[in-house]
């Protein structure tokens, strides 16, 4: 499956009708996101989540970005600001191609199974493995993150947006996450966007990742009374077009149990989930 994002800069997005955020590129004026893992690194508030939301069509002026001029986002050649592109088409793209793991874990106030059916629902058999009596609203943050991961992450979709997926998880669950990612990459996943503060340094120095480009983010009309106002912030983008080796290393690093036992357990769970 083809999976290609083309972004033209400067990208201007009107936010909440009050202020605008402008993304500029340090080198050149266009970016392409092809297959592989893209890691976004930057300070708090630098606009990483906003940028991902723009790509994932969960924020911004979906069909009206064109009026700002040069900037645009296109997925597989379909520009978000072309005439006739509306919220229905946006939702269609999201539903068919994007897996969005939000920073803020959130559920519908119904049972886990209802959440799965409504939010994903792609696998009838998997549905059965979710409880009808458990209400994820009442779980702790880490637990919620685990459950949401199970519900949302879908190996059938080619693009995953992962906004700090590991922040509340323990080692075992991190391990599970990397296994899932690896598995999905072998099936249908093509492009994964990744934000994580803890792994930042590690990835910067990782030999699998290479520096791709830097985004300059300028916010206008925001927090007017705050002095001094920071004029612009930066987001560094790192790229790994062949991520399997990286996944394998992460799996190994997070393995704290006996290697064989852990693999058996995880494979067992996954296979059950994937084959049924």
């Amino acid at each position: 499956m083809r999976s290609l994002f083309e972004v033209k800069f400067p990208l201007v997005v009107k936010w909440d009708d009050k202020f605008t955020i402008t993304f500029n590129l340090q080198k050149g004026n266009a970016l392409e996101f092809k297959g592989g893992v893209y890691f976004l690194h930057g300070d708090n508030g630098s606009g990483k989540t906003t940028f991902l939301n723009l790509l994932a069509l969960t924020a911004g002026d979906v069909g009206k970005g064109g009026k700002t001029g040069a900037g645009s986002v296109a997925y597989n050649g379909e520009a978000y600001n072309r005439p006739g592109f509306n919220h229905i088409r946006a939702a269609e793209l999201r539903e068919r191609y994007f897996c969005i793991f939000p920073q803020k874990v959130f559920f519908l106030p119904v049972s886990t199974r209802d959440n799965y059916i409504i939010l994903n629902g792609s696998d009838r058999n998997r549905e059965e493995s979710f409880s009808l009596k458990e209400y994820p609203d009442l779980l702790s943050g880490g637990q919620q993150q685990k459950v949401l991961m199970d519900i949302i992450l879908d190996e059938k979709k080619p693009v995953w947006f992962l906004d700090e997926p590991l922040s509340n998880l323990d080692a075992e669950r991190r391990h599970y996450f990397w296994v899932m990612l690896e598995k999905a990459y072998k099936i249908n996943l093509r492009t994964a966007f990744f934000i994580d503060h803890w792994m930042g340094k590690e990835i910067k120095n990782d030999r699998h990742f290479c520096f791709y480009n830097t985004l300059q983010v300028v916010t206008e009309n925001r927090q007017k009374d705050n002095v001094p106002e920071i004029e612009s912030r930066y987001i560094e983008i790192y790229e790994n077009n062949v991520p399997l080796e990286f996944f394998a290393r992460q799996i190994e690093e997070h393995l704290f149990l006996k290697p064989d036992a852990a693999k058996e357990m995880i494979n067992g769970v996954l296979c059950k989930g994937l084959t049924t």
């Binding site: 936010w15 919220h87 999201r94 803020k104 106030p109 119904v110 049972s111 209802d114 409504i118």
Partner: protein
């Protein structure tokens, strides 16, 4: 879409979200208030509708409201009246009934032969007479007036009777004196008819007249029926056929005077046998309102107006009573020109009752429309707002993954609309179930149905507006999360 699995799941989940623990009480309160107010309003409408409907039916069915007895002082008066007003009356929808009149508080009415009594839509002329039989509770008596099996030859046997209309509870003395007075009235009438008659014939007719009047016995109308409220002043009902016999005898030139004496026979069972044709309206009177020879004045002549009160559709989708005001004004005018009405109050009572009933129907419908439409828009609006305020984060989250805007809009439109439908079907269904369809015509459903459609249609854009944040070009999760 409505019956797909996805839609039903989404529906169930939306309901589960609305009825979750934290919002359940508030939402249930809102829904219960809505159901209660709307149910109570519908119930009140239905009950008032039934009440006014039965009153309306009562007025429309009241036979006495189809007749007005108007006084004619002298034959000259009557003739002038006929010449001047008959055409006008016809234009107003009224007809003067020839075969009956009231004289001295007694009704004289022609009793139709059994062959004419049956329902005969083609006959036309007998409707008014049959209706008068109904008013004076003498349908049964009229049917039995001709003795059964007597019409084999030329001779027919009839009962010698008058019908006591309102004397059931009178003392024997009063009844007796009434009867005496009636007999002397009849004798006087016969004498009036016998002017210009030769001596011999007069003697014969006088003898026969005596036979008829002496033979006459009191018969009660229908004992169970009360006298009609508007015509209770009428004391007795006398078959006019007796007068016809005398008139025939007077005019019959074909029969020898001696044989005339045998042409009317009295029997001990107070029946009278006579020539069949003698019982019919004499030829000289046929089709005429003025029985010229019967010089009984002042008399009250019936005006028959079947269409005085008619059901009529109103633009508020109900049927009220239409009253022929031109006719009412006309008879009112006649009353003050000396043609007094037998019961003047009746004309005012009719107008008052019609006005009151029409007002009741109107106010019931107007109240129902205003209340039902305002509640049918306001409460669904509140329910939609409630759903939006309490679910916007959840719905935004949901939309992040699935394209279900249309379905969600439909669900939150359907929710209050189905509650309304439940009430509007439930209340009348409950009524029909427990009270039967008696007195509740299908018209009742029409305003319910129309207000339902109007409220459902009016609520549609309002619902869209409530959820407008999800229908625009922008899905701004940040803005939606602020509401948390």
């Amino acid at each position: 879409m409505l019956f797909s699995r996805d839609f039903s799941i989404l529906q169930v989940v939306c309901l589960k979200m609305l009825f979750r623990k934290s919002t359940r009480k508030r939402f249930v309160c809102l829904v219960v208030t809505f159901m209660f107010l709307m149910g109570f309003n519908t119930y009140s409408y239905v009950m008032t509708f039934i009440k006014t409907e039965s009153l309306k039916k009562e007025v429309l069915d009241e036979k006495a409201f189809k007749f007005f007895f108007i006084r004619q002082r002298t034959p000259d008066d009557f003739e002038k009246f006929l010449a001047g007003s008959r055409q006008q009356l016809r234009e107003l929808g009224a007809e003067i009934v020839g075969k009956a009149f009231i004289y001295q508080n007694n009704l004289y009415i022609h009793v139709l032969a059994p062959s004419e009594l049956g329902p005969d839509p083609g006959a036309g002329g007998n409707d008014a007479i049959l209706l008068l039989y109904g008013i004076f509770n003498m349908t049964q008596a009229a049917r039995e007036f001709y003795v059964e099996g007597s019409g084999a030859g030329d001779q027919t046997r009839v009962k010698g009777m008058y019908i006591d209309y309102n004397g059931v509870s009178l003392s024997k003395e009063i009844i007796q004196s009434r009867q005496t007075a009636l007999k002397s009235d009849l004798a006087d009438i016969a004498d009036m008819m016998l002017t210009d008659v030769g001596d011999k014939r007069r003697d014969v007719i006088n003898t026969l007249k005596q036979r008829i009047t002496d033979n006459m016995k009191r018969a009660q109308g229908n004992e169970k029926s009360e006298p009609n409220l508007y015509l209770s002043r009428v004391e007795s009902v006398v078959p006019m056929n007796y007068l016809h016999i005398l008139e025939h005898l007077k005019q019959d030139n074909t029969t020898d005077v001696i044989d005339l004496l045998d042409s009317v026979k009295s029997y001990p069972d107070s029946t009278i046998e006579t020539d069949s044709r003698y019982l019919n309206v004499p030829e000289s009177y046929l089709g005429k309102a003025l029985y010229a020879d019967i010089d009984m004045y002042p008399r009250y002549v019936p005006l028959y107006i079947p269409g005085l009160l008619m059901p009529q559709w109103n633009w508020l989708l109900y049927q009220n009573i239409h009253i022929n005001d031109d006719f009412m004004n006309y008879i009112n005018g006649m009353h003050f020109k000396g043609h007094y009405l037998f019961s003047y109050e009746k004309s005012h009572i009719i107008r008052d009752r019609v006005r009151n009933i029409n007002d009741d129907i109107w106010s019931n419908h107007l109240h129902f429309y205003l209340t039902d439409l305002s509640m049918g828009i306001a409460f669904p609006f509140m329910i939609s707002l409630f759903a939006f305020i309490h679910l916007k984060t959840e719905i935004a989250f949901l939309l992040m993954y699935k394209n279900r805007v249309r379905e969600i809009l439909l669900i939150f439109w359907m929710l209050p609309v189905s509650l309304m439908l439940l009430i509007k079907c439930g209340v009348p269904a409950g009524f029909y179930l427990f009270m039967g369809t008696k007195g509740a015509p299908a018209d009742m459903i029409l305003p319910l149905f129309v207000t339902f459609l109007a409220a459902a249609a009016g609520f549609y854009p309002i619902n869209r507006w409530c959820f407008s944040q999800f229908t625009g070009d922008t899905l701004n999760l940040y803005a939606l999360h602020k509401g948390r």
